[in-house]
Amino acid sequence: MSLIHEIDFGTPASQSEKLITLTIDGNEVTVPEGTSLMRAAMEAGIQVPKLCATDMVDAFGSCRLCLIEIEGRNGTPASCTTPAMEGLVVHTQTQRLKDIRKGVMELYISDHPLDCLTCAANGDCELQDMAGAVGLRDVRYGYEGDNHVFAKSKTDDISNDRWMPKDESNPYFTYDPAKCIVCSRCVRACEEVQGTFALTIEGRGFSSRVSPGMHENFIDSECVSCGACVQACPTATLTEKSVIQIGQPEHSKVTTCAYCGVGCSFKAEMRGEELVRMVPYKDGKANRGHSCVKGRFAYGYSTHKDRILNPMIREKISDPWREVTWDEAYKHVASEFRRIQYQYGRNSIGGITSSRCTNEETYLVQKLVRAGFGNNNVDTCARVCHSPTGYGLNKTFGTSAGTQDFDSVEHTDVVIVIGANPTDGHPVFASRLKKRLRKGAKLIVIDPRRIDLVRSPHVAAAHHLPLRPGTNVAVLTSLSHVIVTEGLFNEKFIRERCGWDEFQDWAAFVSAPEHSPEAIEQLTGVPPQALREAARLFATGGNGAIYYGLGVTEHSQGSTTVMAIANLAMATGNIGRKGVGVNPLRGQNNVQGSCDMGSFPHELPGYRHVSGEATRDIFDKLWGVKLQDEPGLRIPNMLDAAVDGTFKGIYIQGEDILQSDPDTKHVAAGLAAMECVVVHDLFLNETANYAHVFLPGSTFLEKDGTFTNAERRINRVRKVMSPLNGFADWEVTQHLAQAMGMNWNYTHPSQIMDEVALTTPSFAGVSYELLEKEGSVQWPCNEKAPLGTPIMHIDSFARGKGKFVRTEYVATDERTGPRFPLLLTTGRILSQYNVGAQTRRTDNVIWHEEDRLEIHTHDAEQRGIHDGDWVKISSRSGETTLRALLTDRVSPGVVYTTFHHPTTQANVITTDFTDWATNCPEYKVTAVQVGASNGPSKWQIEYDEQARKSRRIVQTLDAAE
């Protein structure tokens, strides 16, 4: 094991296909046209000294260190800004160049502290490296003159106005201006890579300084703490606090982030088993070397003191927990589950797989349920997020997945973002999207709330359609109405690729006058002219891509909306090539994977219905069982059945249904009615309040496996430390299965993936060996596509012909009225993730200590609510309290909150309405009333008390903490 060093080529790669050949230091080198001389030299293995250049940002040419000489040309041009040309003869090391470089370095070092031995960057400092590279031995100018290094003048003890103190305001990194060489790499990383423009250079000449915002602290500036500047910094100026505390790492492994569905690749840089830092991996095909605050910094939860490390059981949920041995826990669960099945029937138990766990772990949980429990009662958290994507895209295209890779966005001309807030939910994708928008692509945002993308530095949406929550179908159908009635559809594509009769039926349907933008304005609140212009732009603006999130799926018409999106893409011919497509932005790291692995009660791995005899036969033979041909219960159905008394036991791996699922009281009632609830998690989450058995889980740093991201990319997760709890989650599931009599003997997750490949045609070519070689692959990966499939449906749809489906708008039954006049919708914030179990246990809380209710100033004024006031929010389901945030980002009549904190209890107010096809809950629309309040509601107080009681642990074993 050693530290993975990625080559810094100095400038970004050229995309040109034309190759040119030149000579550098006597070596012939062939590179794409447009490559810089610096990069060409590096391709030939020659590292030209440099400070202000790095290949994550464009060349800048300010440090004057990378100078070279070209035969037949005057002067000493900078190699970073000089393009390579056919036949050039370049010298990177001459006496003249040596003298200039030494002189430049002398100046740099004359204004830099000489505390290398005690500096955090010691061993990882490009300034130090360059001093060595140019052979700097002496600084003739001395260190006493004008400088930024010392707080006080050494000679007369007068304070130095140029000196600035260290900014330690960000919880994860420090900014030490005394060490800054003003190369502006950080400023450019913030602009070009992250797209936030939080940093700038203030002052001129010797007074130039890096400044967050308007000479602010990092924490007070617009900085989103993505870490790009820290990564770009060649000195110790911007340094991770963890590196300052621990020291430089000595080995690293490439792994995959366990937060959102973008699935960024990181190098986990280690010292022994201690994680020093996470650095985004340049070869990561989802993130291309970028990161966000969560993946880069928010991993502290993995060693948080709240982690439960010993298995625990209790008879009643009102009892305190009792620590037991693993063996005792397994035996207890096995005997309880068997007892329940004997008493209440085979179908009285089930399991929930986790979209945070690996594919291999998910596969094992569904296998345990199907083969071990002998039923199909297995579901996953995708039920509450992207199950409509599965249904809708399967109906129309024939496969339940996004059609593109993330690189595709670089070729997009018009983007529709609907029901998603990428800058907060999928930040690294948002940065890639913003990069494309800054280069001229057009953006249409369809969202009730003015999300950041609508207007942020150097990005502005061409159209923002601020629709009323719950009217997605009306708006999308109306976009199609405009496209069809104005003759803007792509007839050639449709005739070749789609069912023509179905298209004609659909075209007649959308053309009806009641679907015109003017007719639907009353329902949706969207100005007809804007809608028409948006439709025309999407149909005629070049490559059109649609990106969507849970604002699409989490509605009673979620599945219909997904189909409306698919219709729109097909009608405009935007499927089957780079730059187009339908792109669901998946919420959790492995939502895609958990669905692929057969986590749904009606589907075996690879989206094959349980009623298919041929498919069942494959598993029957391999597993030596007879699988049920009946679909099992979905999560909400399990809870209903529990309340009815026919569902009594559940194994929940890595999901907190009590906090994340709607209508909390119903979830609580369902859990309370069960006789054996087994929670397998890192922490005593909210669901664990109702559990009888707790099995400690492991983090993504503690196990091997794979995650599959939103682009169907299968990425490796690599173990960098031993599980604190002793076992990876797949081992726990295996031990449980063994206790139930299953003959499982996996010794490594790669064997589980081999079984997936053996049984599932779309994974047939996947193996750890291939992933080792390729880094990652996108399924389908089989004989037809040995290296995977970046873009789907290229020549034909998975189902053959694309199917147009009529999408009639049906109003949700969740309606506003005199008692509940406002519509509540929910979302995420950048620094927090989902139910917050992980991010709340990191320093990310500095950005978001509590969930706030965003309310329009007009609605607030009517109710006498001021910014920061406690307000009560009530719906037909329940009520809760939180503090108000006055804003104009939401329209009057709409309120918005996040759901990251359990005390907020946002799901006490959400209703039990669900998507008609998949039972995906309607989180995004709840009719509510808001009023002033004194503090927490009765339910919140009772809940807190119950939660506190249910977390008591009687210590019987030595605590491992």
Partner: protein, 82 residues
């Protein structure tokens, strides 16, 4: 609060079935009946279908006529081995 919070499973099943019917009402006529029965066969667990048949026997069951029409094509759950 309203009664919505105390819906029985039967209430919910009627609601869900009617939601499915509402979608297929908007589809071409010849696909509607098959659409509803297919959907329920594919996604409803046997005890949900069993309950649906019990509901179907009641007069005034609140079910959409399309669900009632589709019932003939909905698979009757067999005896599930215990």
């Amino acid at each position: 609060m309203d009664n919505d919070n105390h819906k029985t499973t039967a209430d919910k099943l009627v609601y869900m079935a009617n939601q499915i019917a509402t979608f297929f009402h908007t589809q071409p006529k010849d696909e509607a009946v098959e659409g509803v029965s297919n959907h329920i066969n594919l996604f409803w667990e046997s005890r949900m279908r069993t309950q649906l048949f019990i509901i179907l026997e009641k007069e005034d069951n609140g079910l959409d006529p399309l669900v009632i029409e589709a019932a003939a094509h909905i698979r009757k759950p067999g005896s599930v081995p215990a």
